[in-house]
Symmetry: none
Subunit: 201 residues, 2 copies
DNA sequence: TGTTGACTCACTATAACTAGTGATGAGGCT
DNA sequence: AGCCTCATCACTAGTTATAGTGAGTCAACA
């Protein structure tokens, strides 16, 4: 699989915290050459072209309540950049249609990564298959239950299947991931955002 | 100046992005031993005491519109934790007075760092009882081995004790922490910095 | 149409863990 | 001296998990 690791990204976001969060998530993707922070729209419009960004993520809040704006014209100098809306509060759905994609403040890291990857892949010709999920849906369900601390019998009853099936799934999970221990599976599940820390135990 | 580098911090914040931002800013301060993410209030209240946090940062949005809540009573099990409000939208100022400090979503990194440092310094003055670790040294060793994925027999041989002793320790660990599942112990060990993620499995 | 993968279930035998009780010696604290 | 914790070990009985093999149904796909 060919990955692009030289993306130039601009984030237009008033809040330092939110910027830091997006930055941190994007950095973990190892696709960005640079991440540029802009807090206001006005100060940047002329310089945008200069920065030659590949991706611009813009908090729709910076547009204020003037929702009749044309995104195309605002970013007219960035012809080859993909513009992603970042929505942290209600935004008009017609307005949002102008963007290449939308990231919601409540999206999880996996979703955000997927959206950005998708944008990059659209721009890149050589898309080879993206990581298909290693585990089947049912296997993920079983894994989540295991990590929640349920024993096989309990998993069987919550999923309405026989304990034999549960064991069968668990054997397949072990085979596919190569992880034998519950603690290892816990880290795997946390890392892959299959479960939240507070749901464990 | 004595700096505290072993703060256990819980962030109660629905948005992954905002959490990642706070995490990233706090990590740069090098004061946190662990940063725990919780997305909802309901799922965590009973477990809060167990986690023995020093600082709890809570997005006031999780309280919804019921602003007559007593913060003291919600966090009654965390007597020694400082509670910081994280405000991302309008919040009643009377309500906010209950908190030890307030972080606003538009605060810059420097301001946030200063606020957190201030909280820590206040606390370090009135440390009378050093929060001795809940688990004995031997129990910690056993716990780490468990979380590494070793089975009791293996733990026995690496620690040069009988398998009976290992089980004895494990029983005590379960009794003291109240955590029965290996996955729960894994989260506990990660949060309490007893083990690094990469050492698991 | 034949293959593959997902999902389901079963049987066997062995290994490992859990829970409860009990015991001993070392060391610290009051 | 008495009390407590830690660390060590043991026995019992019951529960749960692991490993290996096998097999049927169903849907997708080439």
């Amino acid at each position: 699989m060919i990955t692009q690791t030289n993306q130039r990204i601009i984030i237009i976001e008033p809040s330092t915290i939110v910027f830091a969060g997006l930055q941190s998530i994007i950095e973990r993707m190892h696709i960005a050459e640079s991440i540029y922070h802009v807090t206001e729209l006005d100060t940047i419009t002329q310089k945008l072209a200069q920065l030659r960004a590949d991706i611009i993520i813009v908090n729709t809040a910076v547009f204020g309540f003037h929702k009749n704006l044309s995104i195309k014209s605002i970013f007219k100098d960035c012809t080859h950049a993909s513009i992603i809306a970042f929505v942290s509060q209600y935004s008009d759905s017609q307005f949002l249609k102008q963007f290449d994609d939308i990231i919601d403040i409540y999206d999880d890291a996996q979703t955000i990564s997927a959206k950005i990857r998708h944008i990059i892949e659209q721009d890149t010709i050589d898309i080879t298959e993206t990581d298909t999920t290693e585990l089947s849906e049912r296997e993920q369900e079983v894994l989540i239950a295991v990590v929640k601390g349920l024993i096989n019998k309990e998993i069987a009853s919550t999923l309405n299947i026989s304990i034999h099936t549960v064991m069968s799934h668990r054997k397949n999970i072990t085979r596919k991931t190569g992880i034998k221990s519950i603690s290892g599976l816990t880290v795997y599940a946390l890392f892959n955002n299959l479960i939240k820390q507070e749901d464990v135990q």
